[in-house]
Each structure stands twice: as structure tokens, then as C-alpha cells.
């Protein structure tokens, strides 16, 4: 049962990732990316990482993708205005991406095929991750709050219109 869910989610993720790259309309790209993120959240659920699955949906599908959609509509980019690249540039892009994939797959091809064993299925629940996050990783957690604050200030400063003197 788990296997079928895994292969279905993988197929969905790869297909919608391809559609992100190849669809003409940027709005469609964003919606397909949301679909990819939901598939990846399903993978997290399969791996017993419930907390990360929820955070992934909330942060990515809820916040980041809405930001993307907002910017697309703010800039009125929902028409297909992208200039077409030359054919040989497209070919070179697909070729280099494919070669990268081929290299990595060939590298991991000989790796030992062992089934994924979950010794402790409880590590992904919120209580356990919270203990790790606020115990061992308390300082990085605080630093990431400073990072988010500086990103917020930076975003406001960058998108503010310059006042003419």
C-alpha cells in the first residue's frame, strides 16, 4: 500500500515539476508548483514527519506561493510576454540538465539498495522535534529570527520608492 502511494506521489511531483518548467503562462507555473509542494508534503507524511508536512504546506503553499502569485498579479505578468529563446539555447539547457541527472543517477546507481528502516517512528512528531529545536538548536533558532527580521527590513527598503530630493 505504502509503495503505491509513494510511486503515485513521485509521479505527481515529477510531472508537475516538469509542467512548472514548460508551461507558458507564469500563473500556471505557480499553480503546478503548489501541486508539487503538496506531493512533497505527502512524502513527508509517508516518512512519519507530520510536523514538517504541516509546516511545509503552511509555509510553502500558504505563504511563499501566495507571495509569488501576488507579485505576478501586481506586475501584471499573467500574459505570455516572455521572449522565446533560440532553439540551440533551449537544446543546450535540456542537454545540460539531462547530463547532470545522468551523472548523479549513475553515481548512485551502484549504491547499496537497502529498504528505508524507521527505527523510531516517533521522531517526526511535534513534541520530539520541539525538544531538539529548543534544546540543541536554541541558538540557531534565535539567529534565524534575526535573519527573518533583516529580510523583512530589506524587503521594505528595496521595494520602497526612492524619494526625490
Amino acid at each position: 500500500m505504502t509503495q503505491y502511494v509513494f510511486y503515485f506521489l513521485s509521479f505527481l511531483a515529477i510531472l508537475s515539476a516538469l509542467m512548472v518548467v514548460f508551461s507558458k503562462n507564469p500563473i500556471h507555473s505557480v499553480l503546478y508548483l503548489v501541486l508539487t509542494f503538496f506531493a512533497i508534503a505527502g512524502h513527508y507524511l509517508l516518512l512519519n514527519a507530520q510536523f514538517l508536512a504541516i509546516v511545509h504546506i503552511v509555509v510553502y503553499a500558504g505563504a511563499i506561493m501566495v507571495l509569488f502569485l501576488y507579485v505576478l498579479m501586481l506586475l501584471n505578468l499573467n500574459v505570455d510576454a516572455e521572449p522565446v529563446k533560440k532553439n540551440w539555447v533551449k537544446f543546450a539547457g535540456v542537454l545540460s540538465g539531462g547530463l547532470l541527472m545522468l551523472t548523479l543517477v549513475a553515481t548512485f546507481h551502484k549504491a547499496e539498495t537497502m529498504p528505508l528502516i524507521q527505527d523510531n517512528p516517533e521522531i517526526g512528531v511535534t513534541a520530539n522535534l520541539g525538544k531538539i529545536l529548543f534544546g540543541e538548536f536554541a541558538l540557531p533558532f534565535e539567529i534565524s529570527s534575526v535573519l527573518l527580521l533583516s529580510a523583512m527590513i530589506g524587503a521594505i527598503m528595496l521595494s520602497k520608492k526612492e524619494v526625490k530630493k
Binding site: Q3, F6, S10, A13, I14, A17, V20, V21, S29, L33, T36, F37, I40, H43, L47, N48, A49, F51, L52, V55, H56, V59, L67, F68, L75, L77, E82, K85, K90, A92, S96, G97, G98, L100, M101, L104, V105, A111, T113, M114, P115, L116, Q118, D119, P121, I123, G124, N128, L129, I132, L133, E136, F137, L148, A151, G154, A155, I156, L158, S159
Partner: protein
């Protein structure tokens, strides 16, 4: 929950590799800066998925905490990146990365 999943760890590696390569391909193929951003997000997510898989395999929660931090950094990156993109659109009236060639050698 069963402790043994029937899925080999290799398949997670292959899935992540494929998703990462699609992201690289998108960055190379597209000229719209927003699509390039989305492909970068795709690559980040491929790495996240692999990290969660290995974290579950080793029974160590630190990997999942790393993924949490990566999500925080991605959120910050998107906020700054999209405001740079709005600046770019305000100055050049396009989001085509081909127009930003002042630094080109």
C-alpha cells in the same frame, strides 16, 4: 506504524535527483526571473526531501530540524528576491533576465 517501509532508500535519492535536475533545467531554460525563482525553490525542496528521508532512516531528528531552518531561510530569500524583482520591473519594465546585462563581460 510499521517500522519497515517497503521502499528502498535509493528511490528517494533518485526522486530527489530528478526533481533537482528539473530545477536546474528550468533555471537554464527560462528567461522570466519569477520562473527562475520558482525553479530554485524546487531545487531546495528536492534537497529537503532527501534530508527528511535520511533523517527518518537514521532515526535522528536533527535532519528534520535542519529542514525547518532551510524553510526559514527560503522564506527570507523569497521576500528579498521578490522585492529585488519588483525594483527590476520598476526600472526596466520587464522581468526578462536578458535585459540585465550591465555587468556582462
Amino acid at each position: 506504524m510499521g517500522t519497515l517501509q517497503a521502499i528502498p532508500l535509493n528511490h528517494y535519492i533518485f526522486l530527489s535527483v530528478i526533481l533537482f535536475s528539473i530545477g536546474v533545467m528550468g533555471v537554464l531554460l527560462r528567461r522570466n526571473a519569477i520562473i527562475i525563482f520558482m525553479c530554485i525553490e524546487l531545487m531546495l525542496n528536492a534537497v529537503n526531501l532527501l534530508m527528511v528521508a535520511f533523517s527518518a532512516h537514521h532515526g535522528d531528528g536533527s535532519g528534520q530540524v535542519f529542514v525547518f531552518f532551510i524553510m526559514a531561510v527560503a522564506a527570507a530569500e523569497v521576500a528579498v528576491g521578490l522585492s529585488i524583482l519588483i525594483m527590476m520591473h520598476r526600472n526596466t519594465n520587464t522581468t526578462d533576465v536578458g535585459f540585465l546585462n550591465k555587468l556582462k563581460f
